[in-house]
């Protein structure tokens, strides 16, 4: 009896894990969109990535660019929805991770043949953070050692150079 229960539990876990894989596969990465652009043209897709740069307001709709680690793509999204994204990725910030479901266009007629996604739903899955800058001690020591030496030598070189120029 215990064996049967064990088999059932294992089967249950396997089924769960397979179904999780199926859910993961529904999300497409941006490089796959480009690689299979003809097949996915005008189809509903789901992408997830970090919002980068900044939102570009174009009236009722805005552009938000997202980078999922494989590539980056423009999302044409309602301004009201785009405003929910508060953190955009740059040197000092990790942008909000957003999950976008929308229609993928290989060569969008509305946007001059651009490959883009017209968002239908937008969900912020992970909030962005401010990246705190940590200075490695090695870098600090190298600066303290090298900069004064270079500055003194340059000053001496410059003085000598001026002297020779004046003599000539």
């Amino acid at each position: 009896m215990r064996k049967i229960i064990k088999i059932f539990v294992l089967m249950f876990l396997l089924v769960i894990s397979f179904s999780l894989n199926v859910f993961a596969a529904q999300r497409t990465d941006i490089n796959s969109l480009i690689e299979h652009a003809k097949a996915l043209d005008n189809k509903e897709v789901t992408v997830q990535g970090e919002a980068i740069g900044e939102m570009m307001n174009r009236g009722e709709y805005s552009w938000v660019n997202i980078n999922d680690g494989t590539n980056a793509m423009g999302i044409w999204i309602k301004t009201a929805e785009a405003e929910q994204i508060t953190s955009f990725g740059d040197y000092k910030h990790k942008g909000d991770t957003v999950k976008i479901t929308g229609i993928f266009h290989r060569a969008c007629v509305e946007h001059g043949g651009e490959a883009d996604i017209h968002s239908e739903t937008c969900e912020i899955t992970v909030k962005g953070i401010t990246i705190s800058e940590r200075i490695p001690s090695g870098k600090l020591i190298a600066t303290v050692l090298l900069v004064p030496v270079a500055a003194i030598l340059f000053f001496l070189y410059y003085k000598k150079s001026r002297k020779v120029t004046a003599e000539l």
């Binding site: 939102m55 590539n71 060569a107 090298l146 030598l153 000539l168």
Partner: protein, 514 residues
């Protein structure tokens, strides 16, 4: 005044001037340091302080080795000019790569050198990772390198020089620039910089205003405008974001950059002539004629070819995706309005072939552009017509053939021969690049596209250039960018000089042992 030229060796002369160029570049690092201070990017600031200190020490060491050059006012010969230009670029490639390495955005020193050479040569191919999180200071440095590389590192050093150096013209020619706008070289280099700085002010202002209109914030719009201008004017192709020009999603932004890179691909002599009121030069010049004819034919053929395959849905799309990319390739800029893989997957062999041809032709001589240049294409074409006419004419008739480039110039066999030789060198470089690509398993069309892009200093990619690319290909692409930009002679002179030095050493050691 003391002249003891014979006492100074070639090695000392080369070392002194290379050191001088390195010191000028070290001084330039103050700009990213100030940028880092303004934007409170402390890590980036330290990266540039370390790099500046190392560059200063190397510059002083090189100038110190050749110190007697200054004391004796030694003359620069042609061979020195060529070797100094080639060696300066090589040394600077390594020194300017240090901030890239320290930033943590690059996986190896080789990748950093690749990106620096790509910037210097105004190519625009990128191996830097995670561009979207790059510091403003490093972005400033990347775009500065491409902007200065467009005018020339030696040109910049000559501009800063306090007094005219004897043999400065030889240094200037060593960097593949030969136009004389005014009788002295210092005046010419200053005019080149004046032209570039005026366009910098106007172009950045135009892109800044447009950036604000398309929804960028004021400070960010200014930085994007400055970076994109520097890149467009120098026909570079770098951009601050992963998506390159596609980040902006704007027809107006694309159009302004297109005007800038077309202007950037024109000869500085042509700009100067127009500024002096000689507007007819724009129509009469063999280079502009060659550029307009080849770009028109290339655009029409690509639009026709891709419309047959229904790649783009309408005229606006065709302009933004086809004409923009073809002109970007022809001017050797490298801004792309399609993803790299879309060239391979959607444009087909015909589209790729046209792109390869225009990338190899390139822009104008003595401009910021690469490729084997419209001037040479025009000369070889006219030379061919000249030969046909000579064949058809009576043997007794003698006619002088001319071409117009700033002034009327005599078209003789030696001019045609020298142009053809450079074109052959480019084709050999391109051929080897294609062969290496296919050796590593990339398709022929993709290998040819990428090889044309590096040979012509373009920067468009079909997806081959990446950090995962084989190291041999990275090294070859660095060599191809370097040779293509300096138009071979300087690099050949450097190789000859090094080989000559090694030979002398071997002979000496053999004599010593016997």
């Amino acid at each position: 005044m003391k002249f003891r030229t014979n006492a100074v060796s070639s090695f000392e002369i080369i070392s002194y001037y290379t050191g001088y160029v390195v010191l000028c570049t070290a001084l330039l690092m103050t700009i990213p340091i100030i940028t880092a201070l303004v934007f409170a990017e402390w890590n980036a600031m330290l990266d540039f302080l370390i790099s500046m200190a190392i560059a200063t020490l190397v510059g002083i060491a090189l100038a110190g080795i050749g110190w007697r050059t200054k004391q004796n006012r030694a003359n620069i010969q042609w061979k020195h000019g060529f070797v100094i230009a080639a060696l300066s670029w090589f040394v600077l490639m390594i020194l300017c790569a240090i901030p890239y390495c320290l930033s943590g955005h690059i996986s190896s020193m080789l990748d950093a050198c690749f990106d620096v050479m790509s910037g210097f040569t105004t190519t625009g191919l990128v191996l830097t990772q995670d561009l979207d999180h790059l510091s403003t200071a490093l972005n400033m440095w990347r775009h500065m390198l491409t902007f200065i590389g467009g005018q020339g590192m030696v040109v910049l050093a000559l501009t800063i020089m306090i007094r005219e150096t004897s043999g400065a013209y030889r240094l200037y020619v060593g960097e593949a620039k030969d136009i004389e706008l005014v009788p002295n070289v210092k005046g010419t280099t200053r005019i080149i910089w004046r032209i570039s700085m005026i366009y910098l002010a106007v172009g950045t202002a135009a892109l800044w205003i447009d950036g604000l209109i398309i929804g960028l914030k004021p400070v960010s719009a200014f930085l994007h405008a400055l970076f994109m201008f520097e890149s467009a004017w120098s026909t570079g192709g770098f951009a601050p974001m992963t998506q390159n020009i596609m980040y902006y999603h704007s027809l107006s932004f694309e159009t302004i950059t297109m005007i800038i890179f077309i202007l950037g691909s024109f000869n500085f002599g042509l700009h100067y002539a127009i500024w002096q009121g000689k507007r007819k030069e724009l129509v009469k010049n063999i280079e502009t004629q060659s550029f307009f004819i080849t770009s028109f034919i290339a655009c029409m053929l690509t639009v026709y070819g891709l419309s047959r395959a229904n790649v783009y849905p309408d005229t606006v799309s065709a302009f933004r995706r086809i004409v923009y990319n073809v002109i970007s390739a022809h001017t050797t800029t490298g801004f792309g309005t399609v993803y790299a893989r879309q060239f391979a997957l959607e444009w087909g062999d015909f589209g790729i072939l046209i792109m390869v041809i225009v990338m190899l032709i390139g822009g104008s001589a003595c401009s910021t552009a690469g490729g084997f240049k419209g001037l040479r294409v025009g000369i070889v074409f006219k030379g061919l017509i000249m030969d046909i006419k000579k064949l058809l004419c009576s043997e007794r008739s003698r006619k002088a053939y001319k071409f117009h480039h700033i002034k009327d110039q005599l078209l003789d066999d030696s001019v045609v021969k020298s142009s053809s030789l450079i074109i052959i060198c480019y084709m050999v470089l391109f051929g080897i690049g294609t062969m290496i690509g296919t050796f590593y398993g990339y398709p022929l069309s993709s290998s040819a596209f990428e090889a044309a892009s590096v040979t012509g200093n373009v920067g468009l990619s079909i997806g081959i250039t990446s950090p995962a690319m084989p190291a041999v290909m990275k090294i070859y692409y660095i060599i191809a960018m370097y040779m293509g930009r300096l138009e071979f002679l300087s690099v050949f002179a450097l190789i000859g000089y090094v080989a000559g030095g090694i030979k002398k050493l071997c002979v000496k050691s053999l004599k010593f042992s016997s």
